[in-house]
Every structure is written in C-alpha cells, then in structure tokens.
C-alpha cells in the first residue's frame, strides 16, 4: 500500500522511506509519538499530499491522480476542525450524507455517537470531544469500504472512547478496512489487528498485537488473586530478589502497579454512564 514513502517539509524529513501494507477487512493502527509522521503518511494516502519519494496505492488507485475515483470509496476523519463555524452538528452530517449515493441513516449515527446532545449549538461552540464525534460520523456516513481515522479518540472522554472503539470494531466486522493513527498504546493494543510503530518517519516495529507483545521472555508478569498487604509485598520482593541472585540474573525493575487511572475513571464514570443509557 505504501512503499518507500518519503515526505519532507523544508529541511525536515517527516517520513523517511516508510513501507507498510494494510490487510483489507482489518483494523490497522499506526502508532507513534507526536511528530512521528503519522498524519503526513495518512494525508498522503488520502491524496492531500503528493509523495516526494516512493509510491502510494490505496484500493489499487493512485491517491493523487485517481483522487476523484478514490474519494467516494473512502471515509476520512481529519485531525482538528472541519465544519462551518455556524453549522449545527446534525445539519453538517446531513450535508455530508447528501454528497454520497447511499449514505447511512443520519438519525442512527446521531444516536450512536450521542450527537443529539449538540442540539442547536453552532459548531464553534461544541466541545473538543463533540467535534471529534462529529468528525467520526462524517467519515462513516458515506458507507466507505476503507476509513482513515487520525487520532480518533483524542479529546474524548473514556465513555465516548469506548463507543468509538465498539463502532470501529463493528465496522471491521462488517467488512470495512480501518486504518487509524494513535499515540495511545492502549488504543492500539485493544483495537488493532495489526500495529505499525513508527518513529521519526521510519517503521520501528510491525506485527499483530500478540506478536509484538509476546516477543521476548525477558518480561514476566505475575498476577495474584487479592490485594497484597505491605508485608506480603515486601516478602515477595525479597523472594524474587533471592531467586535472581541465586540464578545470577539481574533485575531491571519490579512494578507493583494495580490498575491504570483510566481503568479507575471508567469504573467510576464511564460504566455508570453506560448503564444509565441502557435503561
């Protein structure tokens, strides 16, 4: 799909000989820190930029030369804004739907992504998360066979993030190919069938989540069935330390992390919210 792509801005090389292929009907995550070249790569696939080196083919088409043929077949969620400042969310979505031949029922998308809460508020006064959800809806409304979503859940609260993940999984299960960029490790891990990690415009790792995480046996994870008291934790440290010195193995680190802050937040807000909406 992308072969040896090179993109430069002035004297800075944003993408440096990147090659990657996306399997149809799967979710592929392009993971990397900010400034890694994710958006540049995506926008080249969408035909916004012409490759300065290498070649790009999307659904067998040249995104720049065959743009008119390609655009109706893909859905694009851009980073940042993308609607008139005075337009209402549902009005904007209906407009984009009208540009397509067989759009999804707008009402259902509005419902799924809770866009009705935007009501008559003009776009410029929507929250970042609301603008993101509208952006996602605009990418999906044309029933594309391939969607590019750039940092889809940036600025979303955990509940909206989960809804988005569910929707993207459903898309894949319906036969849509999903390509997303993200700098959230967790998003890539939970969502993607395949992950490409890029840094400074180069591919640094690539594979299924399992392949990438299985990898080496240098990381050992221990899960216990209860909260550990301070004494028990100290005893475990001593035991592990003794085992490592007995075997001549150095310890890089021992973590006693229970759960991430996001897990906690979801439990106290996200799940609660969802139960309410299911009633």
């Amino acid at each position: 799909m992308v072969d040896g792509l090179v993109m430069r801005y002035a004297d800075k090389t944003a993408v440096d000989g990147l090659s990657l292929t996306v399997e149809s009907g799967s979710i592929t995550a392009v993971l990397g820190p900010n400034g890694a070249g994710k958006t540049t790569t995506l926008e080249t696939c969408e035909g916004y930029r012409r490759p300065q080196g290498g070649s790009v083919r999307v659904l067998g088409l040249d995104p720049v030369r065959d743009r008119r043929e390609l655009l109706p077949r893909i859905g694009v969620m851009l980073q940042g804004q993308g609607a008139w400042s005075g337009v209402k969310a549902e009005e904007m979505l209906r407009h984009v739907a009208r540009l397509h031949a067989n759009p999804l029922p707008v009402g259902e998308l509005v419902e799924r992504l809770s866009l009705h809460e935007c009501g008559r508020t003009p776009y410029r006064r929507l929250s970042g998360g609301q603008q993101q959800r509208l952006g996602l809806a605009m990418a999906l409304v044309g029933r594309p066979e391939l969607v590019f979503v750039d940092e889809p859940t940036a600025g979303m609260d955990p509940a909206a993030r989960r809804t988005t993940w569910e929707l993207l999984r459903e898309l894949r299960d319906s036969g849509v190919t999903v390509v997303l960029t993200t700098h959230y490790l967790e998003e890539a891990e939970r969502l993607a069938d395949r992950v490409h990690i890029i840094d400074k415009g180069r591919m640094v790792a690539s594979g299924t989540t399992e392949e990438l995480t299985r990898g080496s046996s240098a990381t050992v994870r221990l899960v216990v069935d209860r909260e550990l008291s301070d004494d028990a934790e100290a005893a475990l440290r001593v035991a592990v330390g003794g085992w490592s010195s007995d075997h001549g193995i150095g310890l890089e680190s021992i973590d006693f992390a229970s759960r991430t802050l996001e897990d906690v937040f979801l439990e106290v807000t996200g799940r609660g919210l969802e139960e309410e909406t299911h009633d």
């Binding site: 969408e46 916004y48 008119r68 655009l71 109706p72 077949r73 893909i74 694009v76 851009l78 940042g80 804004q81 993308g82 609607a83 008139w84 400042s85 005075g86 337009v87 009005e91 407009h95 984009v96 009208r98 540009l99 397509h100 031949a101 067989n102 999804l104 029922p105 259902e108 998308l109 799924r112 776009y123 410029r124 605009m138 999906l140 044309g142 029933r143 594309p144 066979e145 459903e170 898309l171 319906s174 036969g175 849509v176």
Partner: protein, 256 residues
Amino acid sequence: MTDLTPRPGAAPLGRQILAQASMESRLMLRNGEQLLIAVVIPVIVLIGCVTGGKHLHLHESRPLVDIFTPGVLALAIMSTAFTSLAIATGFERRYGVIKRLGASPLPRIGLLAGKVLALVIVELLQLVVIGAVGVALGWSPTVCLAGIVGFVLACVLGTAAFASLGLFVAGVLRAEATLAAANLIYLLLLAGGAVVLPASSYGAFGHVTKVLPSGALGEAVRRAFDDGRIDWAGLGIMLAWAVVGSVLTARTFRWE
C-alpha cells in the same frame, strides 16, 4: 444495530452542487453580519440617498430613486460576491471546511459551482427586496429586452469579477485579516467607487472610477435600467477584472 456494510458511492454531481449551494446560502442568510451587509445596509443606503439626496445638489433632472435604485442593486451584488464570499471563504479555510470537503466526493469544480449558485440565490433575494423598496419609493425603471440582457450580463460579470477578487483576498490572508480587508474595501468602494453614485458626480475622479469594477458594475446597471441599453464598455472592464482576479486566485489560493 446499524448496518455498516460498505456501499460507497458519490451522489450525482448535480445533486451535490445543489446540496452545497443550499447549505452555503442558508449559512449566509443565517449569519447576522452577512445579512447586514447583503440586505440591511443596501436598503438603508437606498432609503437614505433617496430621502436625504435632495440636499446634495446633484445636477440631475430625474427622480433620485431612479438614479439610486440601480446603484444600490450594483452595491448589493458587490457586497455578496465580494465581501460576503471573502469573509465566508476565509473562515472556511480557518475551520478546515474546505479541507474536509476536499475528502468528500464533492469535486473542486462542484464546490465552486455550489458557491456561485449560493451567490445567485442570495443575489436574487437581494434583487427582490431592494427592487420592492425602490418601487415603493417610486422607482420606474425602463423595461425592455436590451435593458434586461444588459442587467443580467452586468450581474454575471460583476459577480465573476468581485467573486474572483474576493477569493483572492480570502486565499492569501488569514481569516481575521480577510474580514477586515473585505469590509474596508467594501466601504471604500461604496464611498469612492462610483457604485451607488454615478461617475459624473465624482468630477475628474470619475475617469478613474469608470475602470474600477465597482464603477463599471454601477454604470452597467444604471445604463440597463435608465436607458435600456447594454453598457459594453463597462462589461468589458468587468470581464478584464474577472480575468485578473481569476489568475491571481488560481496562482495564490491555498485550500488549507
């Protein structure tokens, strides 16, 4: 559960253009500042000139409303095709609308056609409102085929000239700078561009105003309604401005 199976496809181009035009004209008419410039200011100018113009000592034997109504119609075209379009497009760039629509099935030519159609819709509305106010004030235009053709041509070429210049401004400046520049140029042309007042009322400066797009549009509309003639010279000047504006826009316009 929503059925998400792919069924991609673009709507027919005509339908896309209609959707775009209806959206843009609705947004334009809903925006208070745009409406002020498109309808309210021209109507105030017309009423003000006709009621207050008696004290201006213009060397005109005709009723003032016959002089000013065509001028205000020209002003309305200028306000919509230049000022409103420039401001709207400037903010479209700022909010990423043009980039977003660039990823939709709507081609650039469709976007441009949608914009032109939206301008025409707003201009027709302006024509009806200002014409009605003019008639209420006693306007009696010369109505004949040549005059109507002259007016339509003036509208088309005037819109083309001002729209291309408006897109040029919106394409090179930031949104706020576009807002300021488009309003300033509008006011300058309103006061000194021979759009509402005939070129003859500017003395020697009238020779300059004749080659301005505002003066050419004003004269062409006045010729059409006063004498029922087609003002070929004015149309030629507007065509030249449209070419200049289009070339400038094509060379400089950035979609993002």
